[in-house]
């Protein structure tokens, strides 16, 4: 084992690990960030479609994503690196009384949490998202302060800043064990070498369980797989992320938006879920989502598809993240189980983990950590995943 000593080692240089490493370095810590892939964000970050919203139904996620939105929204001015942030909002559309009722019920919780979100009637919704199928449209919710940015460019932006703050990175390096002595973390061994540290952050996304097991622990994180796609670039025609929560044969909700460079990015939630880490492309995806998109917004029929891919959602039993210290291993912190929202949660989670690691918690952090505690008893699923 080498003699290199770090204050913290972050495992994973993706949506969560990268901002975590950056925030830890901002606290003045000597940080090493390890990743099994060749460069920043090559695991699940590059598979994210880029939506960022605070309009959840869990108070902890709302708070973390509000933090994230502040980071994303000001990144370009503060750091001179364009992450293609656009404040386009989120539009959840309703075509049936059932969805209208669900969304309106949820609105009460969301407004109570201080979110900027309103019900839009049919005509207003057609102005929010022109081109929606008019037939049957009842309206929907719209949250104008949500938005989108490029996951890859964000990750590279955080990487640039992290490198500037002195974070060391090792890519193409896989963790084989987290070394412990007397119930405390003492180092990390990889397939290339070893590093001494008293603190490890697991930010390994869908690979979190294997990392936890490398420390003799476990984590109830099981990946399932979602397929996404992107179109050619066209002139701006759509501001918000459009979400249709109706189920259909083979799928639950689906959503799409036009990102700042003009391409439309789209994703669908398969039903039943495709559990496992298989990321190979399927023939079922494109016909399934294409039909739903064109039916919802007929003009999309002329939009050319450029590329598709599959990404992994690191799922937890109740659909909420696992963030916090381990009760059984001192110096081990989980920042895992983001359930497909690691990109939008990442900066908020990273800042929280940095405060946790330095015992510098702010007011309100305790409630978030309690809600997301890895030691919690898992109940039912969150209302709006």
């Amino acid at each position: 084992m080498s003699t290199a000593v770090f204050d913290v080692i972050v495992i994973g240089a993706g949506s969560v690990g990268m901002p975590t490493a950056m925030h830890l370095a901002e606290k003045g810590l000597k940080v090493l960030c390890l990743d099994q892939f060749a460069s920043p964000g090559q695991g699940s970050n590059k598979c994210a479609i880029g939506g960022i919203r605070a309009t959840h139904s869990s108070p902890a996620k709302i708070k973390l994503c509000l933090d994230s939105l502040r980071t994303f929204g000001h990144w370009k001015e503060e750091h001179g690196w364009d992450i293609e942030w656009a404040r386009g909002g989120y539009a959840f559309v309703a075509y049936r009384a059932h969805e209208e009722r669900l969304l309106k019920n949820l609105l009460v919780v969301q407004k109570k949490a201080g979110l900027n979100i309103e019900w839009k009637d049919r005509e207003e919704m057609l102005r929010v998202a022109p081109g929606l199928r008019e037939e049957g449209l009842l309206g929907g919710t719209f949250s104008p302060e949500d938005g989108s940015a490029s996951p890859m460019r964000s990750c590279l932006g955080f990487h640039r800043r992290a490198v500037g703050l002195g974070v060391e990175f090792r890519f193409n390096e896989k963790v084989t064990s987290i070394m412990r002595r007397k119930g405390k973390v003492v180092g990390v061994r990889t397939d290339k070498g070893g590093y001494a540290t008293g603190c490890v952050v697991n930010a390994a996304g869908p690979w979190a369980r294997a990392v936890a097991q490398a420390g003799g622990l476990d984590a109830p994180v099981v990946p399932d797989c979602h397929e996404a796609g992107i179109s050619e670039a066209v002139a701006p025609f759509l501001d918000p992320m459009v979400v249709d929560i109706r189920p259909a044969p083979g799928s639950e909700n689906f959503y799409f938006y036009q990102h700042k460079p003009g391409q439309v990015v789209f994703c669908i939630t398969p039903n039943p879920p495709v559990v496992g880490s298989d990321r190979r492309e399927t023939s079922a995806y494109l016909p399934m989502i294409a039909r739903r998109m064109v039916d919802l917004m007929p003009k999309l029929g002329n939009l050319k598809v450029r590329r598709t891919w599959r990404g992994l959602y690191p799922m937890t039993p109740d659909g909420a993240p696992l963030v916090g210290r381990s009760a059984s291993l001192e110096g081990y912190i989980d920042a895992i189980g983001m359930c497909g929202q690691g990109y939008m949660l990442g900066p908020g989670v990273g800042a929280l983990v940095a405060r946790l690691a330095t015992d510098d918690l702010l007011e309100g952090d305790a409630a978030v950590l309690e809600e997301l505690s890895p030691a919690r008893v898992f109940g039912g699923a969150e209302a709006l995943k």
């Binding site: 060749a38 460069s39 920043p40 090559q42 590059k46 049936r96 969805e99 669900l102 949820l106 081109g131 008019e134 037939e135 890859m152 460019r153 990750c155 590279l156 050619e232 670039a233 066209v234 002139a235 025609f237 929560i245 109706r246 189920p247 259909a248 044969p249 639950e252 909700n253 460079p261 003009g262 039903n271 298989d278 190979r280 492309e281 399927t282 023939s283 079922a284 494109l286 016909p287 294409a290 039909r291 739903r292 998109m293 064109v294 039916d295 007929p298 003009k299 999309l300 029929g301 002329n302 939009l303 050319k304 598809v305 450029r306 590329r307 598709t308 891919w309 699923a381 209302a383 709006l384």
Partner: protein
């Protein structure tokens, strides 16, 4: 110049006059029925089709093959690839300036059909020489086949080859023009009921459930084969230099499509980069179409293509600049000149060696690489897969025909047909046809000075022997019957039939007739240019094999017998001292290829690596110097490889910059390939019923059932 159509061609028939009307920016223009929008525009002298949204750079044609989106225009309100969409009567065409506007459509009652999955024993991707040859063998063996090709006419690149083929007559129709070989193969394939041909259809992806996504005449369908044969051919490599995306810089394949398929004259003065067979042949095709070829440059000290192709070009008056590289294509909005310079032994530009030539078009012909993404995906997903032709290994079309036959038999056998083993000599023939050009041999000039006999200006070992098969006297031999050898005349009686002169693909055989006596010899020379350019009594300049001028001689007679297949046999009266050395007639005057008085130095920093997203070599280089080794990270940071072509063009160029920066391959992580491999509208995947094409069951969109979600 106002008319950009070919009016006269030695080999190809001139199509009907344009009768169709369409508009470009509101101006009414004429087009030939059935031609693509891009060819219609070129025919009218338009070659800037739009401007890039990033920097406003002018865009024009690049691949002419539906693979990139450089030629996109707005046709009747929709952005389309102009090289793939036929022009229609009354069509309103406009440049694509910036990003296209997605047009509004009514919210009318859309109908959708389910995307069907067909099963078949063997799916062949590509109806070129390899795919067609395989289909013939599979057809004979009774195997059920679907053959998919993206063009209306099968034959792949054979349909663009106006020259006679090398190889042997038995194995691969040597001595026949490529386009005619393509037609023969297609006709043969279409005789088999068990082979279904899907023309105008594109393969889009191979999926992990071992289905292949096909856009069949605009309709999406999945095909689940037991065996896949990938015969998708090759794509052209690109090159980084200043001005490399100016309209007027494009690939030799695109050029051949414009000239030999669509009979467009896209250039008056052409410069070719690359001395492989593709570049040499493209230059020859240009001359045949009446286009001046200003020159050809090749970075190596010798051309990589067949020497007969090179020699043929030089004899026609085209200078070949070996050990020269392109520095820049110059011009404001379109190509107006090209600057080249000499390279020293260490590949450095020799200062002061720059030369600029006026030209309107620069062809990039710097090699081919296999179209292997379908093969790789099928392998990854465990779908039994074979590849043939250029998709397997870059070689001549003659070799592709042969590997196609071999794969056909192998697949039939794998599918349980009793075809026996592949004859061992097939493998030998395939290997021979793939062989690179061999040693250059000093030309042997016969000593005889009487009677009639052929002279072979054939001085390189290449797989070619039609002259030995065609001679009715059986007097032309290759030592040891080795197809790679050089032919000799064994001094039996020559009957002066001139068939060897006509059949030689390299136009490298002349026939000398001393029987008239006196101080003149009649020399028969093959000539593949329009009949109007030469007649008896004319004086022509004759050259030796290497292009040295021998003198001016009188044309005695010109004839175009049927066996010459559109070529002309020109008899000249030559003095005794030069007769045997005459190998060709100059067709291009020396002043055409003179450099400009001063050099043009292009200052713009526009060495483009990724033409879809307009990423420069400078940007890529600076990232590499900052430590980037993963091409996916480079893509995330610069968008190189993120564009419409799907990362098909720039990875090789980026890898080259890595190498220039001293980064080894082992340090580089390659670009991840994801489907689909060609952009297709969402409506096709949705199964939107358009009222065109095959009748399908119509199903409404997702049936609205009970809500199952748990918000």
């Amino acid at each position: 110049m106002s008319d950009y159509r070919i009016k006269e061609h030695p080999i190809l028939p001139i199509p009907a006059e344009p009768t169709l009307s369409f508009t470009w920016q509101g101006r009414e223009l004429k087009a030939r029925a059935g031609e693509t929008i891009s060819s219609a525009l070129f025919s009218n002298g338009i070659r800037t089709f739009g401007h890039h949204p990033k920097d406003g750079a002018p865009m024009g044609i690049f691949c002419a093959n539906g693979q990139c989106a450089q030629c996109s225009v707005i046709a009747d309100g929709l952005p389309v690839k102009s090289c793939m969409v036929p022009v229609k009567e009354g069509m309103a065409v406009a440049p694509l300036d910036g990003k296209p506007v997605l047009p509004d459509v009514g919210s009318g009652d859309l109908a959708f059909r389910d995307i069907e999955t067909l099963t078949v024993e063997c799916l062949i991707l590509g109806g070129g020489p390899a795919g067609l040859s395989a289909a013939v063998e599979l057809g004979k063996a009774g195997v059920g086949v679907i053959l998919v090709d993206d063009k209306a006419d099968l034959g792949g690149k054979l349909v663009l080859q106006t020259h006679k083929f090398f190889g042997s007559i038995d194995a691969c129709h040597a001595g026949t023009r490529g386009m005619d070989i393509g037609r023969k193969l297609e006709a043969q394939v279409r005789t088999f009921e068990n082979v279904r041909v899907w023309a105008n259809s594109n393969a889009l992806a191979v999926f992990s459930d071992r289905k292949v996504g096909i856009l069949r005449e605009g309709h999406y369908v999945l095909v689940q084969p037991q065996v896949l044969l990938v015969a998708t051919g090759a794509r052209e490599k690109s090159l980084v230099f200043r001005g490399n995306t100016l309209p007027g810089v494009y690939g030799a394949g695109a050029f051949q499509t414009l000239v030999n398929r669509d009979m467009v004259k896209p250039s008056e003065r052409l410069f070719v980069i690359g001395g492989g067979n593709v570049g040499l042949i493209a230059a020859y095709h240009a001359l045949q179409a009446g286009i001046d070829v200003v020159g050809l440059c090749e970075a190596l000290p010798e051309c990589g293509g067949y020497k007969v192709h090179r020699d043929k070009l030089v004899r026609m008056g085209v200078p070949i600049h070996t050990s020269h590289t392109v520095i820049s294509a110059n011009g404001e909005g379109e190509v107006a000149s090209v600057t080249i310079a000499q390279l020293d032994a260490a590949w450095r530009v020799v200062p002061g060696s720059e030369k600029t030539f006026a030209c309107d078009t620069v062809l990039v012909a710097v090699g081919l690489e296999p179209v292997n993404e379908f093969y790789n995906k099928a392998k990854e997903f465990g779908l039994p897969v074979y590849s043939a032709g250029d998709a397997e290994e870059i070689a001549e079309a003659s070799a592709a025909m042969f590997t196609g036959r071999i794969r056909g038999l192998e697949i039939a056998k794998a599918l349980g047909r009793d075809t026996g083993e592949v004859p061992p000599e097939w493998h030998r023939t395939a290997a021979v046809l793939k062989s690179r050009p061999g040693a250059t041999i000093t030309e042997e000039i016969p000593e005889a000075e009487k009677g009639v006999f052929p002279v072979f200006h054939c001085s390189q070992e290449i797989p070619c022997n039609p002259c030995t098969s065609i001679c009715p006297q059986g007097s032309i031999m290759i030592e040891g019957n080795d197809i790679l050898g050089v032919p000799t005349f064994n001094e039996k009686d020559c009957i002066a039939c001139e068939q060897c002169v006509a059949v030689c693909p390299g136009l490298a055989i002349t026939l000398l007739d001393y029987r008239r006596g006196g101080d003149e010899v009649l020399v028969s020379i093959p000539y593949e240019f329009p009949g109007s350019t030469l007649k008896a009594g004319d004086t022509v300049t004759v050259l030796d094999t290497l292009g040295a001028i021998l003198g001016n001689v009188k044309v005695d007679r010109v004839r175009s017998p049927k066996f010459a297949d559109h070529a002309m046999l020109v008899k000249v009266r030559a003095p005794l001292d030069i007769a045997k050395r005459i190998a060709g007639i100059r067709v291009q005057q020396p002043w055409v290829s003179e450099p400009m008085a001063g050099n043009v130095e292009r200052m713009a920093d526009d060495e483009i690596v990724c033409r879809c997203e307009r990423v420069t070599a400078g940007e890529v280089r600076s990232r590499i110097r900052a430590g980037v080794r993963d091409m996916n990270e480079l893509k995330a940071a610069t968008r190189a490889g993120m564009g419409a072509c799907g990362g098909k063009t720039c990875p090789g160029l980026i890898r080259r910059i890595f190498h220039e920066e001293g980064v080894k391959d082992s340090e580089i992580t390659g670009l991840t390939q994801r489907p689909i491999f060609m952009e297709v509208p969402l409506g096709a995947f949705a199964g939107v019923v358009t009222g065109e094409g095959p009748v399908q069951d119509v199903a409404r969109a997702h049936a609205v059932g009970a809500f199952q979600g748990g918000l």
